[in-house]
């Protein structure tokens, strides 16, 4: 393939949307904010940890922080690496691969990456040894046994309890204060980023898969299937979602994965409606008719030919969905239905702000709430920006 051919490719729909999207500075700020949040979440153990990065014990150099990384940490790293690979692959595709083949190649890449990620996480969770390191490195340094230690930026662990420094307002040692068991608020905030972002990501992943499959089938077949599906959708939509979620939470054991699944299976209605509307428009177009008459399997027609053309509005609802999922997770944790207490979660931290004596420990409520607020706002703004970039009519109007 020569360069001239590549010139003739022109700009793809995705590139057009990106051009529109990146014209607005607010969108870019939000995007960068979310990228930074993800970086913090991935690198949380390196930013806030009570184990030193390097320590010199009796003349031997140790790396306690690296030794104590858990299977969860490695899973997060793996997820981050596959995520970055996927993004760079998509960028490379738009330069190197013929537009006609692009969506097919992308499908394969996404499938392979997801496969590697899932297998990797399962293997890590099963085979990675659980390590416990209860050594108090600070005491070792103080007693002169060890030296030359380099601690992370926030030298506290999120599960640390120290009743001597409980409920202290922000100070030099604890930048954002401490909570009622003496854990450092900043450290818990940093580790809580993981919970919030992963809930947003996984829950929306689940809900969008359900919504896309459901909506695609409804929109493609129409008629009776569509009628029954729409009645089902109406039922789902008229149930107060939050009540449904807490009902499920009441009956099922509480764990992070369960919460993700619960949020995922209760919030797919918008995705399904959007995809259905798009597929209604698409199914009579020539390229779909051609795909049908070629005798392609249904899977191929729906997801390789129609979906790439109808995914745009769903992307918007996915972005809003992430904001919604983060909000629901923090609301659940706030009510005490979220992850178990030693694991830091923004919503749960927020709820400890008014102590049992009625005293207001403002730093316990203010900072986690601010974190939720900024994250939710960033995703919402991103969704609005995306919608404006995708819908040319709205773009002109507002």
């Amino acid at each position: 393939m020569n360069e001239a051919d590549k010139k003739n490719w022109g700009t793809s729909y995705g590139q057009l949307v990106w051009q529109q999207f990146s014209k607005n500075r607010t969108n870019l700020v939000c995007l960068w904010f979310i990228i930074i949040l993800f970086t913090i979440a991935v690198l949380a153990p390196f930013i806030a940890n009570d184990k030193p990065l390097i320590i010199n014990i009796n003349g031997k150099v140790h790396f306690p922080l690296f030794d104590t990384l858990t299977a969860n940490d490695y899973s997060v790293f793996l997820a981050a690496i596959t995520g970055i690979t996927l993004v760079s692959l998509i960028r490379r595709n738009s330069r190197k691969i013929d537009p006609f083949l692009r969506s097919g190649v992308l499908w394969k890449q996404v499938l392979i990456c997801t496969g590697i990620l899932l297998v990797g996480i399962i293997l890590l969770q099963i085979f990675f040894p659980r390590k416990l390191d209860a050594t108090d490195y600070r005491a070792m340094i103080a007693s002169g046994k060890a030296s030359n230690a380099i601690f992370p930026l926030v030298p506290y662990g999120y599960g640390r309890t120290d009743i001597k420094v409980s409920q202290k307002p922000p100070s030099n040692e604890h930048w954002l204060g401490t909570d009622d068991v003496g854990s450092d608020v900043l450290c818990r905030l940093i580790h809580g980023t993981r919970i919030s972002l992963s809930v947003g990501f996984v829950a929306v992943g689940i809900s969008s898969v359900i919504g896309i499959v459901f909506g695609a089938i409804m929109g493609y077949f129409g008629g009776k299937i569509d009628f029954i599906g729409m009645r089902l959708l109406e039922i789902m939509m008229s149930v107060p979602t939050f009540f449904l979620i807490i009902t499920i939470v009441a009956f099922f054991p509480r764990s992070l994965l369960n919460i993700m699944i619960i949020i995922g299976i209760t919030s797919w209605t918008d995705d399904a409606r959007f995809i259905r509307a798009e597929f209604f428009k698409l199914r009579n177009q020539d390229f779909v008719q051609a795909a049908i008459s070629l005798g392609l399997p249904l899977r191929s027609i729906l997801f390789r030919h129609m979906l790439p053309n109808g995914i745009a509005p769903v992307l918007v609802s996915i972005t809003f969905g992430v904001a919604g999922a983060i909000f629901i997770e923090s609301a659940l944790s706030f009510l005490g239905f979220g992850v178990a207490p030693p694991t830091p979660s923004w919503g749960q931290m927020l709820s400890t702000g008014v102590s049992t004596t009625g005293e207001f420990l403002w730093w316990l409520t203010f900072f986690p709430g601010l974190a939720i607020f900024f994250t939710v706002t960033a995703y919402n703004l991103l969704g609005e920006g995306l919608r404006d970039a995708i819908d040319p009519k709205l773009r002109k109007a507002v």
Partner: protein
């Protein structure tokens, strides 16, 4: 309407049956002194007693029959019929939500019109930024900050932190009693309404803008009608209809939100009931509350439909000739 109600009950029932652990094993506890044979016998008798030995659809039919008669069983914690608890708590939640909805509509319609008319001006830009922030503010944060700042000994002690009325409220004459009630409602209502208010204002503004740009408005202006008539008689009348339908999407969010608000402010409503029931694993109450919330929602939708028909003479629910 009927399928939706059926769907809600099926969903609630399915959740309760899909959950791990059945009521009998829960009530029998782990093992104990009974030998295996006897335990199995007791289990069988109890399963038959609760009707758990029948197939799931039959169980559902039995449950539904009781629900239709408003019999949700007894609460394990309160030792009272669940329906009595709901009768006590429901009016509180409905009042709270009604007040909030009225306030939302009263403020956001004028504000939406105002910002639409002044589109692009400074006041419009400022208000849209503020509204966007209000929309994404987590309500538990706002509630907790308000309780901490306005209701505690630490900062200002202006508002009561919990409940619907003061302890001595019953001994007060009518107007002070009403004042006391309202004073207790201020913060919860603010918490419950600000995000819906932001959302609705945005929608009103968008709808008004759409209409103000259309041809018939230009015609009306060309006819020499004054600004007031054009805005209210022409544009507003046409943008009212979508606003009514938004109530349908606002309601589930508000009913769900009242769980958070009621448990922050310790208001004895349905949301608080749900919260307590879940923390004490009072399953009958959980199921009853979920079903009732679904009903409430459907009643709201029905009201929205009726309002829709009143507002728009073109819509009728009679079948086509």
């Amino acid at each position: 309407m009927i399928p939706t109600i059926l769907g809600i009950t099926i969903m609630v029932f399915a959740i309760s049956r899909a959950a791990p652990g059945d009521p009998v094993s829960l009530s029998m506890g782990p093992g104990g002194q009974m030998d295996a044979q006897r335990a199995a016998d007791v289990r069988k008798v109890r399963m038959a007693l609760y009707g758990l030995d029948k197939p799931i659809p039959v169980q559902y039919a039995i449950w539904l029959k009781r629900v239709v008669k408003l019999d949700f069983g007894d609460s394990i914690k309160h030792h009272r019929p669940v329906i009595d608890l709901i009768k006590e708590r429901l009016p509180v939640t409905i009042t709270l939500n009604l007040i909030s909805i009225v306030i939302i509509y009263l403020i956001s319609i004028p504000l939406g019109i105002f910002t639409a008319v002044r589109q692009g001006k400074f006041s419009d830009k400022v208000s849209s930024i503020i509204l966007f922030m209000l929309w994404s503010l987590p309500s538990m944060w706002v509630g907790q900050m308000m309780i901490g700042y306005f209701c505690g000994p630490t900062f200002k002690n202006w508002f009561p932190p919990a409940g619907l009325s003061s302890n001595f409220a019953d001994s007060l004459p009518f107007f002070p009693w009403l004042g006391d009630r309202l004073w207790h409602l201020v913060l919860p209502v603010i918490c419950l309404s600000y995000s819906g208010f932001a959302y609705l204002t945005k929608q009103v503004r968008a709808g008004m803008l759409d209409n103000l740009r259309s041809d018939y408005i230009r015609t009306a202006r060309a006819k020499g009608l004054d600004n007031w008539t054009v805005t209210f008689r022409h544009a507003f009348r046409n943008s009212v209809i979508p606003i009514i339908t938004i109530m349908a999407s606002l309601l589930p969010a508000m009913i769900g939100g009242s769980v958070i608000i009621e448990s922050i402010f310790s208001i004895p409503g349905m949301g608080r009931l749900a919260f307590e029931a879940i923390t004490t694993r009072d399953y009958n109450v959980v199921m009853a509350v979920a079903t009732t919330a679904g009903f409430l929602d459907i009643v709201g939708l029905l009201l929205a439909d009726i309002a829709y028909a009143i507002a728009d003479p073109r819509i009728s629910f009679e079948s086509m000739e």
